[in-house]
């Protein structure tokens, strides 16, 4: 497992990060999608501490009536944190689009939903003069378990350097309700989907492999020697390699001496 974090100190750092980034951007509100799951709950709790609950807007964006418990958990959490929240059913948009594409796979439908949620979040961020807070954790980012331009899209991401198992530690520290903490993690793209079922590994094992490969810069052999199945390690390595495109801006074909993305280099916080 990745080493235990000092959750109190991590909270301090991330609260400052959110406050500082919102302040520098002149943003009044931090917005995020509330799924009823762990990651968005932790992010909402951090944001509420950073800028005050009245300056956080949680958007609960279910597709139809298929996930009543998640909607209830998300609304309950928002009330508990005292943040503003709004529930919008995205089924009309999604159904209108797929009415003419009845054979679309559930992956296509799920990705479309993730991008619809992104579009709704960004629309509200424009209306609010706010910034969209990302909730992708390090585990998801490393294996690319997310929809590019969907749930992976955000203005700032407070959670992206915490493995899923570390997010759980932080959640316990932040007193996220047990109902949310004990739930099986899911992308919620279709009923019955679970992360661990789809990835084929428990988060504990996945994080341990990732920690060995990424943090400790161990090779395949060493990670296998540490007690992991070669097939599991290979699978994780393949997932990391295959998802680099989700962690980067697209390559720009270089023609001039100074090109965007190659040698026109500026801080993200430029002019803030």
């Amino acid at each position: 497992m990745p080493p235990k974090i000092n959750a109190g100190f991590v909270e301090k750092v991330l609260v400052r990060f959110i406050r500082d980034e919102l302040g520098k951007s002149g943003a009044r509100t931090g917005l995020l999608g509330l799924s009823g799951g762990l990651d968005s709950a932790v992010c909402a709790a951090l944001a509420a501490r950073a800028v005050g609950p009245e300056n956080v807007l949680g958007l609960i964006l279910p597709y139809g009536q298929g996930f009543p418990r998640d909607v209830r958990d998300a609304q309950g959490l928002a009330r508990r944190l005292g943040i503003r929240h709004l529930t919008i059913d995205i089924a009309p948009q999604i159904d209108a689009y797929f009415a003419a594409r009845p054979k679309a796979s559930r992956i296509r439908r799920g990705n479309k939903m993730a991008r619809e949620r992104m579009a709704v979040l960004y629309d509200h961020s424009a209306a609010e003069g706010g910034l969209v807070l990302g909730t992708s954790n390090k585990t998801e980012l490393l294996i690319g378990y997310g929809t590019i331009h969907g749930d992976m899209a955000s203005a700032i991401n407070p959670m992206g350097d915490l493995y899923k198992t570390q997010v759980r530690e932080l959640a316990a520290h932040l007193r996220i309700p047990a109902a949310i903490r004990r739930k099986a993690p899911t992308a919620g793209l279709w009923p019955g989907q679970t992360d661990e079922g789809e990835i084929g590994l428990s988060y504990e094992e996945l994080d341990e492999i990732l920690y060995g490969l990424v943090e400790c810069r161990k090779g395949r052999k060493e990670v296998v020697a540490a007690g992991h199945k070669p097939t599991a390690v290979d699978r994780v390595m393949r997932l990391i390699r295959g998802s680099e495109f989700k962690r980067r801006l697209p390559p720009i074909a270089k023609l001039s001496p100074r090109s965007v993305g190659h040698d026109f280099l500026h801080p993200y916080d430029w002019g803030k």
Binding site: I5, F9, V13, R16, F264, H266, P267, Y268, D269
Partner: protein, 284 residues
């Protein structure tokens, strides 16, 4: 003498705003009777500059904005971090530290060791400094270093060998590692190395780090002062701005050097000959 650790969060790329921050803290430190005020690395510019380096570069001898800071040091000393472009070396930009005393620019140190790996890309944007030398300040002999310079222990050795009473390190050290206590793991590293260096050098070690966040990177703060022989004089807060003023007694250098004879018994010529042999061999 009172030493002020000016643990600030500079505004990235905005020299004018940072000059104001420096002037404000100089005034506040003066009220607290500080004899030396130490600001962090690139305090006048912010750290994550990339292509902004040339926009914020200045010549400390002539720049009217910098002269305002120099003028504000009447009766005290200050170490200030900035990007230097001198008329003698047009188009070369240095990560630099100026030592100013009593309205006069005394010394400029150019960062010798530019971290360029992983999250660091200084050598991509800065020219490499080539000299480490001490100089005479109103209160004693001082050696300046900038952040990573301090982690190369030969740099502090040069200051020790040339008789520094005070080693001043200005820093923009990002925090990393959140497993341990109530600070970043790297903060502990800096403290340990500062403490150790105060033993090795029988000198004061003054370390001013910055705070604030740039592009997701949190600068850790935790500035400190160690007296010769590992006595912690002061430690600023983690993560947040601070202006910590502490009293140091410079006679502690003499006492330490009488008790621990590292300075008396030091043989720079033996080190020099050995280094020369190593450098020659590596050049063959």
């Amino acid at each position: 003498m009172n030493v002020a650790l000016a643990q600030i969060a500079p505004k990235l790329g905005d020299v004018e705003a940072n000059i104001e921050i420096h002037l404000d803290l100089l005034a506040r430190a003066r009220k607290k009777k500080a004899g030396l005020v130490v600001f962090p690395e690139l305090g006048l510019t912010g750290y994550t500059l990339k292509d902004l380096v040339e926009d914020v570069a200045l010549d400390p001898a002539r720049d009217p904005r910098f002269r305002k800071i120099v003028a504000a040091t009447k009766g005290l000393s200050a170490a200030v971090g900035f990007v230097e472009e001198s008329p003698a070396e047009k188009g070369l930009f240095y990560n630099a530290a100026a030592f100013i005393a009593d309205g006069r620019l005394v010394h400029v140190h150019r960062k010798v060791f530019l971290p360029t790996n992983g999250m660091f890309e200084e050598a991509k944007f800065f020219a490499q400094g080539r000299e480490i030398r001490t100089f005479e300040a109103p209160f004693g002999r001082v050696g300046l270093l900038i952040c990573r310079d301090f982690l190369h222990y030969g740099a502090s050795y040069v200051h020790f060998a040339s008789g520094a009473d005070v080693i001043v390190c200005i820093s923009a050290a990002p925090g990393r590692g959140v497993q341990g206590g109530d600070a970043f793991a790297t903060t502990r590293m800096w403290e340990l190395m500062g403490e150790a260096m105060s033993y090795f050098s029988t000198a004061f070690v003054v370390y001013a780090n910055r705070v604030g966040i740039e592009d997701g990177v949190t600068f850790a703060g935790g500035s400190f002062v160690f007296a010769p022989g590992g006595r912690r004089v002061a430690r600023a807060v983690d993560l947040d701005p601070d202006l910590l003023v502490c009293r140091i007694d410079l006679s502690a250098v003499r006492e330490a050097r009488r008790a621990w004879l590292f300075k008396r018994d030091e043989k720079p010529e033996a080190i020099w000959r050995s280094l020369e042999r190593i450098v020659r061999a590596s050049e063959d």
